[in-house]
């Protein structure tokens, strides 16, 4: 499966994407403060796959999702969807393309209008994207409700009448309503209880198969990521530190940060617990990220080189990319 994915042409190409937020402009003697939320990342998304972005708070994973859709205007870089540049589009073109790229957010309640029924929401989405002539929309709505496992009579209800899991299903139905090619799932199951989370994950997998969807799955939960992804990308302070197919990332993580992250996850089966690498300190502020390798302040193996020179993302094993000077030495 791995090789076929790679031979395919990318549906979404992100190159040198940067998203900087200016906190304070330069005044007199005070230096300009810039949060480098995403700082030059490049990756491809292939049709039909699930690529996950993982990392801790502030690593830039959600900002990446938002920049791709231009919900925040990216500072630099390019995003190509089927060869068309999203970053160069005008508003109208962008609106059209958003039918192809949909988002599901963490808190479905915050992204559903409380004063609209489910019917009105689905109707509106279809009207804006002109997916179907009005007389066929009713049938389509019933079909959508069926796909996401909600009863057809719920169409007349308001968001507050639903539980968290059901609201997430509504969010999914709305995303599906416009026949997207790509769905960006931003912490889509993070707010849910495990038993409900399992229902939604199963649903997402099924829908992906049925409708040939491509997922960009943003999450901090590595067990969820392991379950749903074909490939995983690990971010730290606005940079990609490692990207590879899921199996080899979990079996053979190359970057010291990925190793520490994996070892920190509490597991129920204590026999499978890896030797824990406890990182010292907190994630440094993205306002003035450390020079050299951004992880060097917390890395147990950091040397002078790591402080001075930033490692590039390079292919260390087959289709397994890592940004660390010593990846090979550390894994042997």
């Amino acid at each position: 499966m791995k090789t076929t994915v790679i031979e395919k042409k990318a549906i979404l190409q992100v190159s040198e994407l940067k998203q900087h937020f200016v906190l304070k402009k330069e005044v007199m003697f005070q230096a300009k403060q810039v949060v480098k939320a995403v700082d030059g990342i490049s990756f491809d998304l292939f049709p039909g796959e699930t690529l996950s972005i993982v990392g801790e708070s502030g690593c830039g994973k959600s900002t990446t999702g938002r920049s791709i859709l231009r919900l925040d205007e990216p500072t630099e870089g390019n995003v190509l969807f089927r060869g068309q540049s999203l970053t160069k589009m005008n508003k109208r073109e962008l609106r059209n393309i958003r039918g192809d790229i949909q988002v599901i957010f963490q808190d479905p309640y915050a992204s559903l209008n409380p004063r609209r029924t489910i019917r009105q929401m689905l109707e509106e989405a279809m009207a804006i994207q002109k997916v179907l002539p009005p007389n066929q929309r009713e049938a389509r709505m019933l079909e959508l409700m069926n796909h996401v496992g909600l009863r057809p009579e719920y169409l007349e209800r308001y968001p507050h009448e639903f539980s968290g899991g059901q609201r997430q299903r509504i969010g999914i139905a709305r995303a599906l309503a416009v026949n997207p090619k790509i769905i960006i799932c931003d912490e889509a199951v993070s707010a849910l209880d495990v038993s409900i989370q399992a229902q939604i994950l199963n649903l997402l997998k099924k829908l992906q198969k049925d409708f040939d969807l491509t997922f960009l799955f943003i999450s901090h939960d590595l067990s969820v990521v392991r379950h749903i992804s074909d490939r995983v990308m690990v971010m730290y302070l606005g940079k990609i530190v490692e990207i590879s197919d899921t199996a080899s990332l979990f079996k053979n993580p190359l970057h010291p940060y990925t190793k520490a992250l994996l070892s920190a996850i509490p597991v129920t089966d204590q026999t499978q617990r890896k030797e824990r690498i406890i990182l010292v300190g907190d994630v440094p502020s993205p306002i003035n990220p450390p020079g050299g390798c951004r992880f060097h302040t917390r890395c147990p193996f950091a040397t002078d080189l790591c402080q001075k020179e930033e490692p590039t993302l390079r292919e260390s094993a087959d289709q397994h990319f890592v940004a660390c000077h010593y990846a090979e030495k550390l894994s042997s």
Binding site: S223, V224, F250, L279
Partner: protein
């Protein structure tokens, strides 16, 4: 010393009375906490785990909430019957609590060192100077570098992980006998969570307090707890050693919960799910509260509520499957089909 019981909760019932009716948030809970031991209480949203912890400290907003029945015995003394005056002496002193979001429990405009010192002056009668020194010592103890400097800072100057450490330092400053930790690491990143859990274990060894650890995260339970109570719809449905719970879960709900976790080192095509949703606390069914979602449910499960029975030493379960009546019913059914 170690096996001495510090806290015993008997038949605790906390109900909320409103126009909608009576919500039985906590509906008959029993457990025992020993010195130096960690008891985990797990369950999903709305199962009553946080209400249990708030009830122990008598922090239930009243009205609408009320402890309608039961005893909470701290070293044999019943907290339910105590006056507010007496309770104030116990809170933060013999029993402390850490919450999920430290920012909401810390005063935003007072240096953190002073906030810790305040508890020490109040409960231990230390002088201002002594309390400050002890406070700085505690901040060092929870692993914050340069404690003298940090003690003078206000909460917003600290990171989330550090704030949670401050909360721990504050909770443990008066060497409590019981620490209630309600989702203390849920808002933190995993690498920070690992640090905090390590510190809690470490300090437990030093101070010897009993910990009630409330969480929805089964992985955290497996790492932190000796005993685990699984809650569903206001009741404990299973109680076991954490070492055996994950290998041999008895209650169908616990089995479902463990099954629905995505596994970190295993491939699964599809996750196991628990059908349906939790019943409303305003209107629990007469029978087993899990029966509607249970794959094994029989007629008796819907009709009558099971008791929490002793299945084996250190193993309790609230399920008809493990009773004699169940086998009788199953065998009589087999006879009918034959």
């Amino acid at each position: 010393m170690k096996n001495e019981i510090v806290l015993e909760v008997k038949n605790l019932k906390t109900h909320f009375i409103s126009k909608k009716g009576i919500a039985k948030a906590v509906d008959g809970i029993d457990f025992v906490l020993r010195r130096g031991e960690t008891l985990g209480i797990v369950g999903e949203s709305g199962c009553g785990k946080s209400m249990t912890s708030l009830s122990i400290l008598r922090l239930i907003p009243s009205p609408p909430g009320k402890i309608v029945d039961g005893e909470i015995l701290l070293n044999g003394k019943d907290l339910v019957k105590m006056s507010n005056e007496e309770l104030r002496k116990i809170r933060g002193n013999q029993i402390s609590m850490i919450f999920q979001e430290p920012m909401t429990s810390l005063n935003p405009v007072i240096p953190v060192g002073e906030q810790i010192a305040e508890a020490l002056r109040l409960h231990q009668g230390l002088s201002k100077r002594q309390a400050w020194d002890k406070s700085v010592e505690m901040i060092g103890l929870v692993g914050i570098p340069s404690p003298e400097k940090r003690a003078k800072q206000e909460p917003f100057q600290l990171s989330g992980g550090m704030r949670q450490r401050i909360m721990i330092a504050m909770a443990l400053a008066c060497t409590p006998e019981v620490l209630i930790a309600d989702e203390p690491t849920t808002a933190l990143d995993v690498t920070i969570q690992a640090q905090i859990l390590e510190i809690m274990k470490d300090l437990q060894k030093k101070i010897g307090m009993g910990i009630i650890f409330i969480t929805h995260d089964l992985g955290v339970v497996a790492e932190m707890c000796d005993q685990v109570g699984v809650m569903y719809a206001g009741q404990i449905v299973e109680h076991q050693n954490s070492a055996t719970l994950f290998k041999n879960p008895l209650h169908p709900y616990t089995q479902g919960l463990i099954g629905s976790l995505p596994k970190l080192y295993e491939d699964q095509e599809e996750l196991q799910i628990i059908e349906g949703t939790v019943p409303s606390p305003y209107d629990y069914p007469d029978g087993c509260r899990f029966a509607e979602r249970c794959p094994f449910a029989q007629k008796m499960c819907i009709e009558k509520q099971p008791e929490l029975i002793q299945y084996d030493e250190d193993m309790k379960v609230r399920c008809w499957k493990y009773t004699n009546q169940w086998q009788e019913e199953s065998s009589s059914r087999e006879m009918v089909t034959q």
